[in-house]
């Protein structure tokens, strides 16, 4: 069993309440599988490629059985050539297809920066919109069980700086399905940021096809005293922290950003107007993170609303250590969010 699967299976089941209230409950993993399955069925232009997409594990179960269900030329394994595969996906997209390229680890995305940054993301602008590059790149960030410095990175912050690239980071099963469908029907390259620890979370997911607008955040929990903007897996930690804060009489509003680029500035401003305090929880290293960008956004647009300086809860600026002891002190948890929020509300 892959080591991160061992780790993920140990996690307690976390149910995320969403806007949608049906009686159908799916895991994040199955919601993604369903989005891919339904997209392959509805649009013959969609195809999926990446290392191991057609093997028995099927990218942690998210592509399992799809090769058998559709033709082998629509769901296929690839050589380990991340950069060229990205360009191949871009070329196929330019010629009218809708590729979904999967990197089982976000770290591997770094090998593809030339094609992603120099080519796919810039093509529309360089050629005045005459050629579109509708492609989805799924990346999965691992955590724990000694994943180490090269199998656990969350580099979404780095990619915020790439014009022409859209980035989504759904945290709930409902959003995973809806944003995957949105990413596939979008006419631009979309980076789909997944966190391995989210794959097992559960939530309500409708059976039908639906999309979620890219660039729209959502309030996961209403509150009055502090705004916690959470990114990707940090939503789980933020919701746990909010629960604890509630017990101490602090009412935290939790904003799930869902899309990182473009991101929903309005929802942040509205919330901060109410609470006057902003804490941002990101899965990446602190410097140049998504949290940094949101902090800068708040400094430019919400300075007059803030009662306290903005706080970022991110991983420190170190590579991820492999030692379980060091790893534990590397990652931020609900405790860190809780402690910072208490300080912000009650003062030092």
């Amino acid at each position: 069993m892959p080591w991160t699967t061992v780790q993920v299976e140990k996690l307690e089941n976390f149910f995320i309440k969403d806007d949608f209230a049906g009686d159908r409950i799916l895991t994040y993993r199955d919601a993604l599988h369903e989005a891919l399955d339904q997209s392959l069925a509805r649009d013959p232009r969609v195809f999926i490629m990446g290392e191991g997409v057609d093997d028995v594990a099927g990218v942690f179960g998210t592509t399992k059985g799809l090769k058998e269900k559709y033709e082998a030329d629509r769901v296929f394994d690839t050589p380990i050539a991340e950069n060229s595969l990205t360009g191949i996906a871009a070329g196929a997209a330019m010629a009218g297809l809708r590729p979904v390229l999967i990197h089982a680890r976000m770290d591997f995305l770094l090998l593809s920066f030339d094609q992603l940054v120099n080519h796919a993301s810039k093509w529309s602008y360089m050629f005045a919109g005459q050629v579109k590059v509708p492609m989805v790149i799924r990346t999965i960030s691992a955590r724990g069980w000694g994943s180490g410095a090269q199998h656990s990175q969350c580099i979404q912050g780095m990619l915020m700086n790439v014009p022409g690239l859209k980035i989504v980071a759904p945290a709930t099963p409902y959003d995973a399905k809806g944003l995957m469908i949105s990413a596939i029907i979008d006419n631009n390259p979309v980076l789909f940021v997944e966190h391995r620890w989210l794959h097992k979370t559960t939530g309500h997911v409708p059976e039908e096809l639906y999309s979620i607008p890219i660039g729209k955040g959502v309030i996961r929990r209403k509150g009055e005293d502090v705004t916690i903007v959470a990114i990707s897996y940090m939503l789980v930690e933020a919701l746990r922290a909010a629960e604890k804060l509630q017990k101490d009489g602090i009412s935290a509003e939790v904003v799930d950003l869902r899309s990182l680029k473009p991101f929903d500035g309005e929802i942040i401003l509205e919330s901060v107007a109410k609470t006057g305090r902003l804490l941002i929880a990101d899965t990446g290293c602190k410097t140049g993170s998504v949290a940094s960008e949101i902090a800068a956004f708040a400094a430019e647009n919400a300075f007059h609303l803030l009662k306290k300086p903005v706080k970022r809860v991110c991983c420190p600026d170190t590579p991820t250590p492999t030692s379980d002891v060091l790893e534990k002190s590397f990652y931020r948890t609900d405790e860190d969010i809780y402690n910072e929020a208490v300080k912000m509300v009650n003062g030092e």
């Binding site: 360009g87 070329g91 094609q115 050629f127 005459q130 022409g164």
Partner: protein, 321 residues
């Protein structure tokens, strides 16, 4: 090859040469504010390959892409306007010389990153295969691109998937000033392609008939779903890597080497052949020159009199609709 096609190939080679010569002559006035990479001396490759392509076939080229753009039938007015960075340019003045595009004839854009077009052209070939539309892709690149990982990764992928793509290496021996021998182990770029399991040839890139012969076979293979294929064309650029400079003599390319290649001028050679065969007369040549001069004049005056983009267009097209 039928007479019309031979004459057309000759016309294309002359068109490339005369337009590039004009670009070279105009460059000093500093109105073409974009880095240019001239193909003078290498015209036979683009002409010999593109003559066999359908309008809806794809080509992907590089920073040195004028010749392929012209040979594939790209709009000349829009090309020159693009060099002048005008709104009427093929990329609305956003691309410049290194980023020519004409989607009407299968040119989906050129890239200025060495080796960057190889995966993209492999991708359009993958699309043709999945869509079963019979379109062939030709990817043009220089010897420098064989230094890049994308060359090897993409050729391998195309071979595994049996994609309808012809890789055409314009080997002019130099990446800026670095000689191929200083950069690559072994002899023959085409041998790498052979190792990836595709038919691969090394041809005289200054002999348009030889280029055309091999290109026809390679394109035919792809058309019959028996791709990919590879052609390494040995050729030589007369101008320096960039701009209008010459890079011959002391510290640069040896004078004897340059002189030898200039004596192998692809246009002169083909003209002699056509004349010997009785296919080209002085009268025809004169008419051809006249027509090309007219076309060139028209394109340059169109470009020079076209408006520049307005500053408020800056933020457009970051995302496609």
């Amino acid at each position: 090859m039928e007479k019309d096609k031979l004459i057309e190939m000759y016309r294309i080679m002359k068109l490339i040469r005369m337009i590039e010569q004009r670009i070279n002559d105009e460059y000093k006035y500093d109105e073409i504010k974009t880095p240019i990479h001239l193909s003078i001396g290498q015209e036979a490759v683009a002409a010999g390959v593109c003559i066999h392509l359908r309008k809806d076939d794809y080509i992907f080229s590089t920073h040195r892409n004028h010749a392929q753009y012209i040979a594939k039938g790209g709009d000349i007015r829009k090309m020159i306007a693009e060099l002048y960075l005008r709104k009427t340019g093929c990329a609305h003045g956003r691309g410049g010389s290194m980023h020519l595009i004409d989607t009407d004839v299968g040119i989906l854009g050129s890239t200025a990153i060495v080796g960057g077009n190889i995966p993209i052209g492999t991708g359009t070939a993958l699309a043709s295969k999945l869509l079963k539309n019979g379109r062939v892709t030709v990817v043009f690149f220089g010897d420098g691109a064989a230094d890049e990982g994308t060359f090897h990764e993409s050729l391998n992928f195309a071979a595994i998937k049996k994609l309808p793509v012809v890789y055409v290496c314009e080997n002019n021996f130099y990446a800026i000033n670095s000689h191929q021998k200083a950069r690559q182990a072994g002899e023959g770029i085409y041998k790498w392609a052979e190792r990836y399991g595709m038919p691969a040839y090394q041809v005289d890139g200054n002999d348009v008939l030889e280029v055309s012969d091999y290109a026809q076979k390679a394109i035919e293979l792809c058309r019959n779903d028996e791709g990919p294929a590879f052609i390494e064309c040995l050729t030589y650029r007369w101008k320096g890597h960039i701009g209008t400079v010459d890079d011959v003599g002391e510290g640069y390319r040896p004078r004897e080497e340059y002189d030898l290649w200039v004596s192998r001028c692809p246009i002169k050679r083909f003209s002699e052949y056509l004349k010997n065969e009785g296919l080209l007369t002085d009268e025809l040549e004169r008419k051809m020159d006249e027509e090309i001069n007219k076309l060139t004049e028209d394109a340059f005056s169109f470009a020079q009199s076209s408006p520049k983009p307005s500053p408020d267009e800056l933020l457009e097209y970051v995302y496609a609709d």
